[in-house]
């Protein structure tokens, strides 16, 4: 493109200003990518939740148990295909910072209900036969360097049964859905039940239900809650997606917080870059007038200003997103599984670049229109 030389020469007119403006874009886009990744991590549970699954918890709170006897009653409700139950274990490996989620599972139905978390059949069979067996997610196995056959002590203070529970790693699961949770640790209900105090026996943490058809969600949820109404263990049944969204809400309105920060950052960026472009155009009014005098059209002048603004936006945006793509995995490792996997997706990158171009375009548009409308005779008189 024959105008490239002119555009780049003008871009590099004030190198410090160029660096600072590109830096503004880079910082803003880095922050955008970071916030979008965190938001995605919080929402991923809801996003990838099975559309044909319901979660049943105690109406009072998820930490209150439900009786195991509900399982058969739930199974009899029309539209229910399978039921499994889980308990939260809440242990740590060696020390507090080594947190990861451990679940007590119902080995008969787990794979049927939560079918997207895949375990090889030979590993699953070994796990079923091993009372102290455990299946661990690929991410957690990698984090601690565990492999099949390892014996793992998990400290627990919630349920008694001794300060340390020992498990054998019999298998490793992977999620077949992108972004699925691969940090969990599963072990058998029977092993858990036998070490529980008498007062807790016969209770589960929550049920997960697989439906014949997602269309039955409302009717099945209503039937379950009616079945448990006026009992000592009333239930709250909702779709897995609603349950995951509710879980996120416990941390506050993350979505609003992130949107607010993001909006403020981009509005500030727009003001900063808009001002920079306005100054840049104002200080070379006479040069733009000369270009017009020698035959460059009004649209060419607008094009030059916009091209400069968009180049700055694109370079800054790519720099910020590039830095984010380096920082996000490091952040994920530093968080030690406190959040679900942090993923800087192509969609986030594309949206970030789109926003950078939008801000760049708007910041260049106003001074560009001013330059386009400028009368040559007036501008030359200012020299």
């Amino acid at each position: 493109m024959k105008f490239r030389g002119l555009i780049f020469a003008n871009l590099f007119r004030k190198k410090l200003r160029l660096i600072l403006t590109i830096g503004s874009f880079a910082v803003a886009l880095f922050l955008f990518a970071f916030l979008a990744v965190v938001r995605g991590a919080f929402n991923r549970g809801a996003d990838i939740a099975g559309a044909d699954r319901l979660v049943v918890i105690n109406r009072i709170s998820i930490i209150q148990p439900l009786p195991l006897s509900y399982r058969d009653k739930i199974l009899r409700i029309p539209g229910v295909k399978a039921v499994t139950h889980n308990n939260w274990f809440g242990g740590v490996y060696q020390e507090e910072k080594n947190f990861f989620p451990q679940f007590v599972i119902d080995i008969e139905n787990q794979r049927q209900v939560i079918s997207e978390l895949k375990v090889r059949d030979d590993q699953w069979n070994a796990f079923v036969k091993d009372r102290q067996g455990a299946i661990v997610g690929a991410k957690t196995a990698k984090r601690f360097g565990w492999k099949i056959g390892d014996r793992i002590p998990i400290k627990n203070s919630l349920f008694g049964g001794g300060p340390t529970w020992d498990f054998n790693i019999d298998g490793i699961y992977n999620s077949e859905r992108a972004g699925g949770d691969e940090s969990q640790f599963w072990f058998q209900w029977d092993y858990f039940e036998e070490r529980m105090p008498q007062s807790f026996k016969g209770n589960v943490g929550w049920y997960v239900i697989k439906l014949d058809n997602p269309d039955y969600a409302v009717s099945v949820a209503k039937a379950i809650d009616e079945m448990a109404a006026n009992s000592s263990f009333e239930t709250k049944t909702e779709t897995e997606s609603a349950f995951a969204a509710g879980w996120v809400k416990q941390f506050g309105n993350i979505q609003f917080l992130i949107m607010t920060i993001g909006t403020v950052v981009f509005f500030t960026l727009l003001l900063v870059t808009g001002n920079t472009m306005a100054i840049s155009v104002r200080e070379r009014v006479s040069e733009l007038a000369v270009l017009k005098a020698i035959g460059f059209t009004d649209r060419s002048v607008l094009f030059f200003v916009l091209a400069e603004a968009l180049t700055i936006a694109l370079v800054g945006g790519l720099l910020g997103l590039g830095l984010a793509s380096l920082a996000v995995p490091a952040l994920g490792a530093a968080l030690n599984g406190l959040l679900p996997t942090l993923i800087l997706s192509k969609a986030i990158l594309a949206m970030g670049l789109g926003l950078a171009v939008l801000v760049g375009g708007i910041s260049g548009l106003l001074p560009g229109i001013g330059a386009m409308r400028m009368r040559v005779v007036n501008a030359l008189r200012r020299v």
């Binding site: 020469a9 590099f12 007119r13 040069e287 270009l291 020698i294 009004d298 005779v377």
Partner: protein
């Protein structure tokens, strides 16, 4: 031949007929040019003189299609420019007018070569052809050796010579010079005027120049004076002062 009294059609390169230019400042109307007529033939070199505010630069802007008259017409090489739309006028300027300004008005971030190349970016010439044209233009002004220098690395006279190369590189129909030596010392001014004179005599260029300097004006074939918006030849100046020319 230059004439200031024609009113009918002519075969001149530039024909100006009944040109008026009025500005409105606040509530007041200021008439800068009044019923001005002018004929300039190809190869003429005309200097316009007159006191500040007499309308010299306004006339140059009108002739160069940078401004539009209140009344009257300007025809250049058969094209009446006074009724052209903005874009058409811009394209016309690119083909027909070479501008030389008092303050040179080079783009400081471009080299001499790149500054001279600017008008050619609007043509369909290949890069190699543009290079030939730029080198020729810089050769005419004697700055081939300095083509990779930036304006800040050149003297005022050299900057103006680059500006002249930029003005002639696309071989325009005529050149408009607004105080081309106004920012130069006498020696540099003489060199620039020698160069402009060469463009007229050797290359047959048509030049219309505004100046305050009688020494510079003497280099032109004819000097016209603008007094109170009226254009007169030097000999008629006393009559204008007495209010005798309408």
């Amino acid at each position: 031949m230059v004439r200031v009294d024609s009113t009918g059609k002519s075969n001149s390169l530039i024909q100006v007929r009944g040109l008026d230019k009025t500005y409105r400042r606040g509530g007041e109307e200021i008439q800068v040019l009044q019923r001005l007529n002018l004929d300039v033939d190809k190869g003429d070199f005309v200097a316009f003189m007159g006191p500040s505010g007499s309308g010299k630069t306004t006339l140059l802007n009108l002739l160069g299609g940078l401004d539009v008259p209140t009344h009257g017409s300007i025809t250049v090489d058969g094209d009446e420019i006074t009724h052209m739309s903005g874009n058409k006028l811009t394209q016309w300027r690119a083909r027909h007018v070479g501008f030389i300004f008092q303050m040179y008005n080079l783009i400081p971030v471009l080299t001499a070569y790149q500054n001279v190349e600017l008008p050619l970016l609007l043509t369909k010439l290949s890069k190699a052809d543009r290079r030939k044209h730029v080198e020729t233009a810089l050769g005419v002004v004697g700055l081939t050796e300095r083509m990779n220098h930036y304006p800040r690395q050149l003297s005022g006279g050299q900057e103006q010579r680059v500006a002249i190369a930029r003005a002639i590189v696309a071989d325009p129909t005529f050149l408009l010079c607004d105080e081309p030596t106004g920012d130069l010392d006498r020696k540099s001014a003489d060199e620039i005027m020698e160069l402009i004179h060469r463009l007229v005599k050797e290359f047959g260029k048509t030049v219309l120049m505004v100046t305050h300097d009688p020494v510079v004006a003497k280099r032109a074939d004819l000097t016209l004076h603008l007094e109170k918006g009226v254009l007169v030849e030097a000999g008629e100046l006393q009559g204008v002062a007495a209010g005798g020319v309408a």
